[in-house]
């Protein structure tokens, strides 16, 4: 059966024309969603740990809400609802970027929260005892240590995020998967296209997790 597969349509033109364009968007979406998600997620985590109900409550509702909804639904709803609110279409790509930042922030905030809580109480005391304010203590003492401890988990989440970017097919954004799909359609070879897509995702994600493993070992040595 596998003899019937025809890979001949894959050449540089196809790869650069269809696939590369998709890869660019997937990578861009992953990077932007990670950076934005970590930034927004850190704010959410700090709100939840602030000890002030009026800050903690909205953040808790947001995080738990986001984590209880399938990503693909958030993508769809955002894509459909925002044009109604702002009165004009946002475009699949922009819509995907904003949705992913908002969604991933919920997950990153839980990682950041765990990271902050993993810093021993004594470190917090030490910073306070030196006269650092709450914000200074967070910025110079707690968060740098927390982020260092969290780095492997961050990267693991980023790998999941990269795989999840394929869900933008729901709103027709042109990502890596779409690149293969379009190429497959153009040449009437959908099976070969999806197989190649799987290989591409595997290679990218597997090399990234190998990197995480090495990083884990290095961080263990630093500690």
């Amino acid at each position: 059966m596998l003899d019937n597969l025809d890979w001949s349509f894959y050449n540089w033109d196809v790869l650069s024309g269809f696939v590369l364009k998709g890869l660019q968007f997937s990578v861009m979406l992953t990077v932007v969603a990670t950076l934005g998600g970590v930034a927004f997620g850190t704010v959410l985590a700090l709100m939840r740990l602030s000890g002030r109900p009026w800050l903690a409550w909205p953040a808790t509702v947001y995080v738990n809400g986001m984590r209880s909804i399938p990503l693909v639904m958030v993508i769809l709803w955002f894509f459909l609802l925002v044009p109604l609110v702002i009165g004009r279409p946002l475009g699949a790509e922009w819509s995907a970027v904003i949705t992913f930042i908002a969604f991933e922030a919920a997950y990153f905030s839980e990682i950041v929260r765990a990271g902050i809580q993993s810093i021993p109480r004594g470190q917090v005391y030490a910073g306070q005892a030196l006269g650092l304010t709450y914000g200074q203590n967070m910025r110079y003492v707690i968060l740098p240590q927390a982020f260092r401890n969290m780095l492997p988990v961050f990267l693991t989440q980023t790998i999941i995020l990269f795989q999840d970017t394929s869900l933008v097919y729901a709103i027709g954004a042109y990502d890596l998967l779409k690149g293969f799909e379009v190429a497959g359609k153009n040449y009437g070879r959908p099976i070969e296209a999806y197989l190649a897509a799987a290989v591409a995702y595997f290679v990218i994600c597997y090399s990234l997790s190998a990197l995480v493993k090495r990083l884990h070992a290095r961080i263990a040595i630093i500690r």
């Binding site: 030490a126 006269g131 260092r148």
Partner: protein, 249 residues
């Protein structure tokens, strides 16, 4: 009479229903060295942490150099910057070098320039005998060295009083001496110090007063060193019992 450096008036604290400090009162004057001892669970560490408000209290008053620590309106970071504190587990910042540990709060809290802060910090690092280690990370130092850096870090802020919370309890026996040496020289220079410690040799040598606390956070004894060690018959039964235990070996 000169204003006391530290004044505790009827300080009480609860964790939920459990009372951990019961009506503690004491006064520490400028230049005094006071040792706080007692069995574990007697609230010594909690008491010393209330003085720079690392632990909040529910009742009573705490004054540091005339500033009300118990008053919610008090600017706590500003107050804490004047009070040096040394912890049982050193609590150096592991992601910063020794020099950065010494300068961080000087720069961010006191607003010193990085150059001034470094010069000032290294002066104290030299004093504790560790100038050669200025570019290392805390993890590369022994426990005794880390604790001496921690003392230098506190001194770099030019504190008006130093609080020591069991500074030698987490150290290997052979490193206790090097830390006590630094503390002794500080005491002899006239630094106001409050030290939670079981090092009775230190208490005998440099302290002026000894406070003994017992379970439930009660201050059982608060008397001059000469009286505390010189007149064992006049001590409370709990104190005698405790001293027998820690001095018999």
């Amino acid at each position: 009479m000169e204003r006391p450096m530290i004044e505790l008036k009827n300080v009480s604290k609860w964790y939920g229903p459990v009372q951990v400090l019961s009506d503690c009162s004491t006064t520490i004057h400028k230049g005094e060295v006071v040792v706080v001892c007692g069995p574990s669970g007697s609230g010594k560490s909690t008491l010393i942490k209330t003085i720079n408000a690392l632990e909040p209290i529910q009742k009573g008053e705490i004054w540091v150099n005339g500033q009300p620590v118990h008053d919610p309106k008090t600017n706590l970071p500003k107050l804490r910057a004047q009070v040096g504190m040394v912890f049982q587990h050193f609590e150096l910042f592991p992601h910063l070098t020794v020099t950065e540990n010494l300068t961080l709060a000087q720069i961010k809290v006191l607003g010193r320039s990085p150059e001034d802060a470094k010069k000032h910090g290294l002066k104290y690092l030299e004093r504790v005998g560790l100038l050669a280690h200025k570019d290392k990370y805390p993890g590369q130092l022994s426990g005794g060295q880390q604790q001496r850096v921690a003392i230098a870090r506190a001194l770099s802020m030019d504190p008006i009083v130093m609080l020591f919370d069991e500074p030698t309890s987490a150290l290997d026996p052979e490193m206790v001496g090097e830390v006590l040496d630094v503390m002794v020289s500080l005491a002899q220079e006239g630094m106001t110090m409050m030290c939670v410690t079981h090092e009775m040799g230190f208490a005998r040598k440099v302290s002026h007063r000894v406070i003994f606390m017992d379970v439930g956070g009660k201050i059982l004894e608060d008397c001059p060193k000469e009286e505390f060690f010189g007149n064992p018959e006049a001590r409370q039964p709990r104190t005698k019992d405790f001293l027998n235990k820690i001095l018999s070996h």
